[in-house]
Amino acid sequence: MKHHSGLVLPNSGHNRDAEASKLGMWLFLFTEFLLFGGLFIVYMVYRMLNPEAFLAASFQLNVTMGSINTIVLLISSMTIAMSITAIQLGNSKKSIQLLMITVAASLVFMVIKYFEWSAKIHHGLFPGMAVFNQLPKGESLFFYLYFFMTGLHALHILIGATFIGVVIHRTKSGRLNAGNYSLTENAGLYWHLVDIIWIYLFPLFYLIH
């Protein structure tokens, strides 16, 4: 198991470079940060132009559900961080268990999100629906941004959960181990970024009143 760490070229050292891999992941995270950052600037400008409407619309969101989702994501951030500790200590089994808890948390997040969106759609607040079309301009902007930003974030949750699934699979097969865990680290970095985006989305949409 110990020597099962990929290709090793004779006399040239390993062909893996964990440091470069991590740096590449960070560079990718910066592009993600700027993608959401642009949307945050759009939010800021529209909010400056429609302060009262944004306030009124924010009362439509369910603070309890938002808070639960925040807690779920924070816990999942801890479990994936711990799974890196586990694999560094050579405990692949524990690492897999912690990764599975993280995936389970992502599913809980998506289920809560589903109920939230269903409630909004039930009230006709999705862009294009009857109630939405009669909203004042500022409030409809709020819901456009709410659905687009939380939707894009939920897409990142799904991609992150898939990524973690790949890590679980490769840890099971032994390709990821105490000597080679940069994919686990990179999945962790991605998952923390998704958490960080939610840390800003939550107060901006749910807590601004």
């Binding site: 950052g37 680290e185 009143h209």
Partner: protein, 105 residues
């Protein structure tokens, strides 16, 4: 052989393994900050501008905690922290320039 052991020593020096307990403490801090920001919003609803500013401040503290401990910035090479700071300054400039533009219309 000497080279190999040097490599190994360097690696051991670089890789800092964060304990489960430390990760749990980080989570506890993040949950406390979440409780704080939600209570300020729910119970301080009449202090509007202040609540928004506090909410953003608390969110930023939470993000710093996540990046510093969970994302290992504390233990990694300083280049990562510098890169993050550069990107944050870049984004903050966009944010500030855009708000100046809109506030002066």
């Amino acid at each position: 052989m000497k080279n190999h052991s040097d490599d190994h020593a360097e690696k051991a020096h670089e890789t800092h393994i964060v304990s489960y307990k430390d990760h749990f403490s980080t989570l506890a801090a993040l949950l406390l900050l979440t409780v704080l920001t939600v209570s300020i919003s729910v119970f301080g609803a009449n202090l509007r501008t202040l609540t928004v500013a506090t909410a953003m401040l608390i969110a930023t503290v939470k993000v710093i905690v996540v990046a510093y401990y969970f994302m290992h910035l504390k233990f990694d090479k300083k280049i990562y922290t510098w890169l993050v700071l550069i990107v944050v300054v870049l984004f903050a400039s966009f944010l500030i320039l855009t708000s100046i533009e809109y506030l002066n219309r």
